[in-house]
Symmetry: D3
Subunit: 286 residues, 6 copies
Amino acid sequence: MDNISFMDRAAVLAQALPYIQKYSGKIVVIKYGGNAMIDDDLKQAVMSDLVLLQLVGIHVVLVHGGGPEISAMLKKIGKESKFINGLRYTDKETADIVQMVLGGKVNKDLVALVERHHGKALGLCGIDGGLLKAKKLESEVDLGYVGDITQVNAKPVLDALAGGYIPVIATVASDAAGNVYNINADTAAARIAAELHAENLILMTDIRGLLADKDREETLIPHVCVSDVPALKREGTISGGMIPKIDCCVETVRRGVKKAVIIDGRVPHSILIEILTDEGIGTMFT
Amino acid sequence: MDNISFMDRAAVLAQALPYIQKYSGKIVVIKYGGNAMIDDDLKQAVMSDLVLLQLVGIHVVLVHGGGPEISAMLKKIGKESKFINGLRYTDKETADIVQMVLGGKVNKDLVALVERHHGKALGLCGIDGGLLKAKKLESEVDLGYVGDITQVNAKPVLDALAGGYIPVIATVASDAAGNVYNINADTAAARIAAELHAENLILMTDIRGLLADKDREETLIPHVCVSDVPALKREGTISGGMIPKIDCCVETVRRGVKKAVIIDGRVPHSILIEILTDEGIGTMFT
Amino acid sequence: MDNISFMDRAAVLAQALPYIQKYSGKIVVIKYGGNAMIDDDLKQAVMSDLVLLQLVGIHVVLVHGGGPEISAMLKKIGKESKFINGLRYTDKETADIVQMVLGGKVNKDLVALVERHHGKALGLCGIDGGLLKAKKLESEVDLGYVGDITQVNAKPVLDALAGGYIPVIATVASDAAGNVYNINADTAAARIAAELHAENLILMTDIRGLLADKDREETLIPHVCVSDVPALKREGTISGGMIPKIDCCVETVRRGVKKAVIIDGRVPHSILIEILTDEGIGTMFT
Amino acid sequence: MDNISFMDRAAVLAQALPYIQKYSGKIVVIKYGGNAMIDDDLKQAVMSDLVLLQLVGIHVVLVHGGGPEISAMLKKIGKESKFINGLRYTDKETADIVQMVLGGKVNKDLVALVERHHGKALGLCGIDGGLLKAKKLESEVDLGYVGDITQVNAKPVLDALAGGYIPVIATVASDAAGNVYNINADTAAARIAAELHAENLILMTDIRGLLADKDREETLIPHVCVSDVPALKREGTISGGMIPKIDCCVETVRRGVKKAVIIDGRVPHSILIEILTDEGIGTMFT
Amino acid sequence: MDNISFMDRAAVLAQALPYIQKYSGKIVVIKYGGNAMIDDDLKQAVMSDLVLLQLVGIHVVLVHGGGPEISAMLKKIGKESKFINGLRYTDKETADIVQMVLGGKVNKDLVALVERHHGKALGLCGIDGGLLKAKKLESEVDLGYVGDITQVNAKPVLDALAGGYIPVIATVASDAAGNVYNINADTAAARIAAELHAENLILMTDIRGLLADKDREETLIPHVCVSDVPALKREGTISGGMIPKIDCCVETVRRGVKKAVIIDGRVPHSILIEILTDEGIGTMFT
Amino acid sequence: MDNISFMDRAAVLAQALPYIQKYSGKIVVIKYGGNAMIDDDLKQAVMSDLVLLQLVGIHVVLVHGGGPEISAMLKKIGKESKFINGLRYTDKETADIVQMVLGGKVNKDLVALVERHHGKALGLCGIDGGLLKAKKLESEVDLGYVGDITQVNAKPVLDALAGGYIPVIATVASDAAGNVYNINADTAAARIAAELHAENLILMTDIRGLLADKDREETLIPHVCVSDVPALKREGTISGGMIPKIDCCVETVRRGVKKAVIIDGRVPHSILIEILTDEGIGTMFT
C-alpha cells in the first residue's frame, strides 16, 4: 500500500464523495461478530472504520453478541455450553454469565477500543433505558432464558447519537418481571435497524456472501431481491447456517430498511468497502 | 404505618416542601453500598427513593461498587479474593472479573430495578464516553490493577441527566493504553460529585454515623466542620474504616461540594430522610 | 402529627411516588372557594399545596371567585347585593366593583400569599391577553353584566406556566365592545380546564362530596360516571346547589378532561390528599 | 388632516425610518398619567401609539397610577382623601382601595383598551411575580402604607415582552410580611426603566415641559443635562411639582438609562412624536 | 411637505397601524423595474421603503431585471440587442453578458444602496443555492438562452430572511448541464412569490395601472378579480404590453398568493403607499 | 488508478481518519486561482474536493479573483489592461467591469459548478451583507479604485456556513460613500481567514512552493516559521512575485490563524492532499 502515490490517494478520497453524500445523516446498523471480533488487526480496522464513518456524518450503531467469550467464561466456572438447534441453552446461571460477559466485558472493551481511535462511544445493553423488552422464546424444546424481542425503544440509541456517541449495544433484554434474556444478536440488530429507520443493516460474517455454488467463492451472488429468497431456499442455494441470517435480512427489508447486506468480516475495512466504494463485497438484499 | 391518617399523610407531604425547594434542580451524588445493596426490601426502598427524587426535580446520580458480588464470582472460578490494607489485590484476571461483575451484572441489575419502579436509568461505567480516566495507584505494595482517578469527564453523566435518565455508574476506569482498573467507589463518587458541582454527596454505610463513643449510637455527632477532622482523627474519634470514608467527605467539600453526608443505609428510605426531612440522620460534613 | 417517626414520614413520601408519576407534567385546574378561602389556616395550607405540586412538576392553575369580598365591598358603598336564582344581579356599578375586588384585591392577595410560601405566581383576569371572552348571559330575567364565556385563549395561561409561575385567575371577562362581565368561577374553571386539556379539574367546596343520604357523611359516593348523572338527578340524589357544580364536572369530562372532582375544602391539605394519595376524598366524575 | 395627500403621507412614513432604526429592539418605559388618562380621545391615541410601537419592534412598558380613580372610590365609601406634602395618607383601608382600584380597575381597563386596538397586553401589579418589593417610606410625618421600592425583579416584565404582550403595570408593591404599599408611579417607572436597561423613560404630564419662564410656553427648554439640574433648582427654574418628576429623570439617567423625557400628554400622539420624529416635544434629560 | 405639522405627522404614522398589523410577519415580493430603477430620487425612495418595511416586521424580497444596463453593455462590446416578440434574443455571448450585468453589477449595486440606508441585503441570483432551475423556453422562433423556470427552491431566500437580510434577486437561472438562462423578471417574481406563499406580489411599472380608457389616467380600474381577466382581454381593455404582466398577476393569484398589484413606480414611495395606506394606487388582482 | 484494489482503497480512506478528526468543525479558507481555475479537469477536481470537505464536516470558504477574465472583458470593450507594480490600474469604468466579471460571472459560474457536484454554494461579494469594507489603497502612483480592506464582517459568511452552503466570495468591496473597489484576492482571503479564526489558509498557486533553489523543484522548503521570513527575504530565497503571497501568509499567522500554506494548484486534488494526507505538498507557514 505504501507504493500508492499521494495523487492516487487523493483520487481515492475524491471518489468516496458520492457514497458519503448518499449516507450523510443516515443511520447504519452494524451487527459485529465472527472473525472480525477475534483477530486483533481486523478489530482495530473495524473500530477505525466506525470512527471514520461517524466523523463524516454517518450515524453508526454497533450491535454485538459474544458467543466465544460466553463459552470461555462458562468453562472457567466449570459449566459446559449446551446448544439446541444452534441456540445456547440458557439456565438462570448461564443468563447471569451472558449478561456479565456481554454487558460488562465485551461491550465495555469495545467502547474502550473506539476511544483509543479517538472516537466517543456509549456502551448500552437492552436493559438500559428500556431499549429492548423481551419474553421467553417459544420453541419445541425448552431453551431457558433465551428471549424473543417484544419491543424496541429507540430513545436511548437516538439520545446517544445526538450526544455524539457511537452506541455499542449488547443484546440482553429484560421483561416486566425483571428476568434477563439472552437475545440473538442478528435478530436484535435487525429489529433495532427497523425501529431506527436505518438506511442499511450490515451483518458481518465469516463467509464471502451468498454463493451460487457454495464451494466456489467466485460464484458470489451480489444482489438478491427479498422476493426471490423463498425460491433460493427451495433450490438449496440458501441453506444451513445462512437461513437465519438471511431471514433477518428479509425481515429488516420488509420492515422498511432500504437494504441489508451480508459482508465478509475477514476482509480488512470491509465496512468502508461496503459503504464508501462501489465494490460488490458480499450479498445485498433489497 | 397504616394507622397514619390521610390528613397526617398530607401534612407530612406538605412539610417536605422547603426541602424540595432547596434541592430543586440540584445534583445529588449517592454512593450506594453496604446492607442497602444486599437486603431486598432496602434495595427496593432505595430505588423508589431515587425515582421519587428524580421526579420532583432533583438530579440524582448513583455510584456503586460491588465487593461481595466480585468475591462470589471469583470464588466461582476458583480464585480467592486477596486484600492488602483493605484494598483488593487485582491481577489481570481479577480486573476482568471486576469489570464484568460491576459493569455487566450489578450495574445493569440496578438499571432494571429502577425501571421496575417506573423510572428511567442508564448504566454507565467509567469507560463509557471517557467518564473516568485512571492510572495505576501508587502504593508501597503492588496492588495490580487498582486505579487512581486522573480525570473525570462529566459530559456523559450530564447527557444522561438531560435525557431524563438516572445515571447509574460502575466504578471501573481505563487508561490511554486501554488497561482497565478497579476504582474505589467512595473515591469515585467523591470525584464525580466535585466535577458535577453537586449540592450533596451521600455515602450510604452500615453504621449510624460518626459516634463520639463508638459503642453507643446515641452519641452520634450530627455535624462536623471539615476543619475539625484532623483533631478528631488525633483524638481517635475518627479511626479505622471510617478514615477513608471521611477523607472522601473532606476532599469533596474542599473541591466545592456544599456538603457530604455519611448516612445509615440500614434505615429504610434513609435517602429521603436525609434529603426531604430535617431529621439528623447520620453525620454531615461541611 | 409530631408523633410520627421520621421513618414513617419517609414512608409516606415514598408512597406518593406513583401519584406524582401519574400527574408529572400534567395540568390540574383548581377552582378555589368556600371555607378554604376564608379560614386563614386552610388558606395557608392551600397555598403550600400549590407550591409543592408546582415544584414536583405538576402544572397547577388556580381559578377563583370572591363572592363574600364583593358583597362586603358593595355594602361599604351602600349598595345591597341582589341575587336572582343564585346569581348576582350585576348592574354597571356592580360590574366595576366585581372587577376591582376580584382582579385587584382577591387575586393579588392570593399571588402575594403564594410568594410567601416561596412560590411564584402571576395574577391574571379574563381580560389579560384575551384569556376569556364573554357575552351577556341569556336568561329569563335580566341579570345585567353576568357573562357567558364565548372563547377561552389558553396562551397567557400556558405562557405563565412556561415562565414557572402559578397562574391565578380572576373570573371577569370582556367582550369586543369592552364591556366587562362577572363570570361564574366554577364554569370558568371548567372551560379553562377543557381548553388546557387538563388532567383533572378540582372544585373545592364546603361539603364532603355527593352523599347518597345528604344527612349522613358516611354515605359519600366516591365515584360517579357522568352517564349516571341524569338518573341521580331524577332520583333526587343530586339536587339544589349541587346541580350547577356537578353540571360543570359533567361538561368538563365531556370536553375531554380525564376527571373532575368535588372535594371538601374544609379538610386541611385536601388538594394533596386528592392528588397524592389513594384516599377517596370527595366525589370523582369520569 | 384629510387634506394631506397620499404622497405626503408616504413621505412622512419614510421619514420615520431612522427613528425606528434607532429604537428597534430597545425598551421604552412610559409613565402614563394626567389628562392623557382622562380624555377619551387622548386615551385612544395613547393605546394606538403603544400598539404601533410594539408592532414596529420597540418594546414598550406602560406604568400607571390612578389618583383620581382612587379618590373617587374613597369618596364612594365615604372616606376623604388626605394628602400630606402631596402624598396620599394611606391607612390600611385606603391601601386596600388603592390595590383594588389600581390593580383591578384602572390596570385591567387599560389592558382591555390595548386589545381593542388589536394589541396584546398583560396587566401586572408590583405583587405579580415579585416584580416590586417595598418597605414603608421613611418620612417626618407618618404616611401609613406609602412605600419605598427596595427591589425590582425584571423577570415578569421581560417574560411578558418575550410573550409578545405589552406589560401594563399598576404601582402597588408588597413586603416580605405581606403588607401592600402605595407606590409613587413616577418613581416606580424610573426604577423599572433602570432595571430593564431601557433606552428611554417617558413621563407623560399636563405641562409643555420645563419652561425658562413658567408663564410662557414658547420658553420651553428642550434639553437639559442632568448635571445642570442643581443649578436650575437653585435659580428657581425647576420648582414646585416639577421637582419630584425631574428628580426621577435625573435618577433614571444616573442609573444608566440613556435619556428621560417629560412630554405633554395633552398633545395627541405625543408618544409617537417623541419617539418617531425629530420634533422637540417636551424636555429631555440626558 | 415641510408644512405638515408634527401633530399631523404623528397622526399619519398612527393611521399606518392597521396596515402594519395586516402585513406583520408576512412576505411581500416586489418586482423592481422601470423608471423607479433609473431615476436616482425614486431609487433612493424605493430602498428607504424596503428598509422601513423590513424594520417594521414585513419580510420584503426584491426581484429585479435590468434590460437597459444589459443593452448598454452589449453596445459597449459592439453587439446589437435583438428582440423577438419583445423577448431578447440571447446567444451564448449575450447570456454571459446578462449574467454578468444582472448578477454582478445591477444586483450588487442595489445591495450597496440598501446598506447606505442602513439596511442589510444579500445579493443572490437564481444560481445561488439552486434558487431557480430553468430549461430552454419553447417558442416558435429560437430565442437562444431564454429560460423557462422549472423549479423554485425557497431555502436560500428564507435563509436570507431569517438572517435579517433583504434578499435581492437577479433573474438568471441554470439547468442541470450548467447552461445559464436569461429569465423574465416578472415571471420569476411571480413564481418566487408563489413558492414563498407571499401575501402580496407587487409589480412596479411605468404606468398608472389598468385603465378603462388607456388615454385617461382617471379611468384607473383599482380592483380586478382574476376570473374577469379573460373578458377584459376580449374587449381589449387588457392589451399589448399589459398582457404578460397581468398574466403574471393571474398566475400568482392562482398559485395561492392573496393578491398581486401593478403599481406606478414613477410615484415616490409608491410601495409604502400600496402597503401602508388605504389609497387605491394601481390595480390589484385577487 | 484503476489498478488500485478495493482493499487498498479502503485502507487509503481509513488513513484519512486522523486528518479529518483534526479539521472536523474547523474553518479552512482557500484562495482559488491560477491554473486550477483555468484547466477544466483541475477545476472539476477542486469543486469535488470542496464538496467532499464540506460533507465530512470541514467548513470550507472559497475566495477568488479572476484576472484573466477581467482582462478578456476589458479587451472586449476595447480597453487595455494597465498594470502598475503588478496591480491593475482601475479607473471607474474598469471598476465596474471588475465588479461585473468577478461578482456576476466568475463567482456565479463557480457556484454552478459546486452544485453540479451536488454541493450547495452561495455566491457573495464583499458588498453583500457588508462583508468587506474598503478605502482607496494608498500608494505612490494613483491606482484608481484599488482598495485596502478596512473592515471584515464575518456574519454573512458564518450565516452561509450555518445554512449548509459553501461561501464563494468575489473580492470587491465598497466604502460608506458607495464606491466599489477592486481588492487583491490573496489579501482578502488572508483577512477573511483571520476574522473567521480559520484553522488554515490555503493559497493555490502555479508553483511547487518555496524553493531553496528556484530552478529545482526538489529543493522545496516544506515548512517555514514566520519569524524566519525576514532572513529568507534578505538572502533572496523569497523574492519577486512570492513576496506578496508570503506576506499574506505571515500576516494571517500573526492574526491568529494556525497555519497558512502555499500549494501547487497544478496538481489534481491538491487541496485534499494538503488537508487529508501527511504529504508535504507545498510550503507551510506557522
